[in-house]
């Protein structure tokens, strides 16, 4: 089976700083892959490089076999890649409904069906439809951010630290929702919360100092205390 997304020895700079110094990923379709690593390891930069917000100086990003690392962000998104950034990136002055409308690229039967499905998972989005998104709670903002990425028929969802700053009970709700969503889309997740990562992920990549240093099945990492200790301090 071919990989849906392939990141090959990517080097990305932010200004003068050499942030990614050789990140390689192979994302299998219909699986959840989690990127793990310490703060500042380069996980978010990897996501932003995939999205085309940052362009790598070396290496390649291929989606469905097609090189995408030179494309602008909007063209990457239009290939069917949804992005939930760190810190949610919601439009605070727009209402919940307007946030979802900006996100919907084409109003089709499929997007309406996806919206219905996501509202079923996050009923708050319907209840606060006309509220300004800035007035939502942290958990609701995260739900909105995920919903925005999901309303389009995306084939790949990139989700950056969805549990950050959320109460444990909200995180549980998110885990359930993401479990339901992974049946419809391949997911790449950045997650510091190891419990959440292990509850969702099928595969993992460990990133350290801008390099991928380990990869494998999530179940194997859960059992490998030495590896967890070395790279995650767990």
């Amino acid at each position: 089976m071919t990989d849906l997304l392939e990141v090959e020895d990517v080097h990305t700079y932010i200004g003068q700083h050499h942030i990614l110094q050789g990140v390689s990923l192979r994302i299998r379709p219909d699986a959840v892959t989690v990127l793990l690593g310490r703060n500042g390891a380069g996980k978010t930069t990897t996501m932003r490089t995939i999205m085309g917000v940052l362009h790598p100086r070396r290496g390649a990003v291929r989606f469905d076999g097609r090189p995408i690392h030179a494309l602008p962000p909007f063209a990457v998104a239009r290939l069917g890649i949804g992005y939930v950034p760190e810190g949610q990136g919601i439009f605070a002055t727009l209402t919940v409904e307007e946030n979802l409308r900006v996100a919907t690229l084409a109003d089709s039967a499929e997007s309406r069906e996806r919206l219905r499905r996501i509202v079923e998972l996050f009923p708050d989005l319907d209840r606060f439809r006309h509220a300004r998104a800035g007035t939502l709670s942290g958990g609701q903002k995260q739900m909105l951010s995920i919903a925005r990425a999901f309303v389009n028929p995306t084939r790949l969802l990139l989700i950056d630290e969805p549990s950050k700053g959320l109460a444990p009970i909200v995180v549980e709700h998110l885990v359930e929702a993401l479990r339901a969503m992974k049946r419809h889309s391949t997911v790449v997740l950045v997650e510091q919360n190891f419990a959440m990562a292990s509850a969702l992920a099928d595969e993992y990549y460990l990133i350290d100092d801008g390099r991928t240093v380990h990869a494998g099945a999530m179940a194997a990492l859960v059992a490998d205390h030495a590896l967890k200790q070395k790279y995650l301090g767990l």
Partner: protein, 324 residues
Amino acid sequence: MSRRAPLLVALVAFLLPLLWIEPRTYLTLTVAGLAMGMLIFLVASGLTLIFGLMDVLNFAHGALFSWGAYAGFTAAVLLNQRWGWAAAPSVAANVLLLIVALAAAAAVTVALGILVERVIVRPVYGQHLFQILITLGATIVLEELIRIVWGPNDQVVPVPATFQGSWDIADIVVLKIPVLAIVLGAAVYGGMLLLLNRTRVGLIVRAGVENNEMVQVMGHNIYRYFTGVFAAGSALAGAGGLMWALFSQSVRPAMGGEQLIFAFIVVIIGGLGSVTGSLVGALLVGLSYNYVAFLVPKAAIGVTMGLMVLILLFRPAGLYGTAR
């Protein structure tokens, strides 16, 4: 602070001068102030969207104002020479002349605006210093071009007969051109609110003002929207230029530069990216300028600066701005 606070401040500033100015003079000054405010609003509203959406400091906006004034002036002169539309006592001919002149101003500035955005601004996205330098450079070029085409001197603008003079309502002198400016400004404001709040393009522009990167990763080509906003903002500057030319009955190559300073102050007072903020800010500046010019003529220019300092002390992001 509540969202109504800016309006309250505006209202107080609006009524305060009544303590020193007799009511009739006050009303005349108020009409002049509102008109000046609306003209500044035309310039500032385009500037605020350009700045809010793409974080671009466009100092060439003032030159587009001048070009709009000269394009409309030329159309008015030609129509008046050929058919006497300005001098004619016919209201229809006068209004038609105004519409054609506005269309000419808008068309020329839209074309120039697109050129400036594509050629001058696009290579310097995200680099404020370069933006200031190159758009100031563009201003010099555009102004010199005006001197080459139309000459360096002031020229008299033919004002259509219908809009000359004043109405005398219960002993209050109300000039006609300022009223026209107020009506046009109000119409533009209403149109912009409709466009921003009721259309999909407006929705995406509002989202982009808040977080333009997020709009891009959602699959929208922000550059296309930005070219549109830049063109529309330029057209508004051009229309403002023509109205100012009619208001002062003259055109000068450097006329845009002076207005640009007011417009930037208004954008900062109102909050970057907020059209309503621009309107409130522009009216505040227009009114306070006129009141103070009457009471203490020498302090007139200083008062707008003072107003800006005062507002920023209490609201660092401007009246309607959201902290970024």
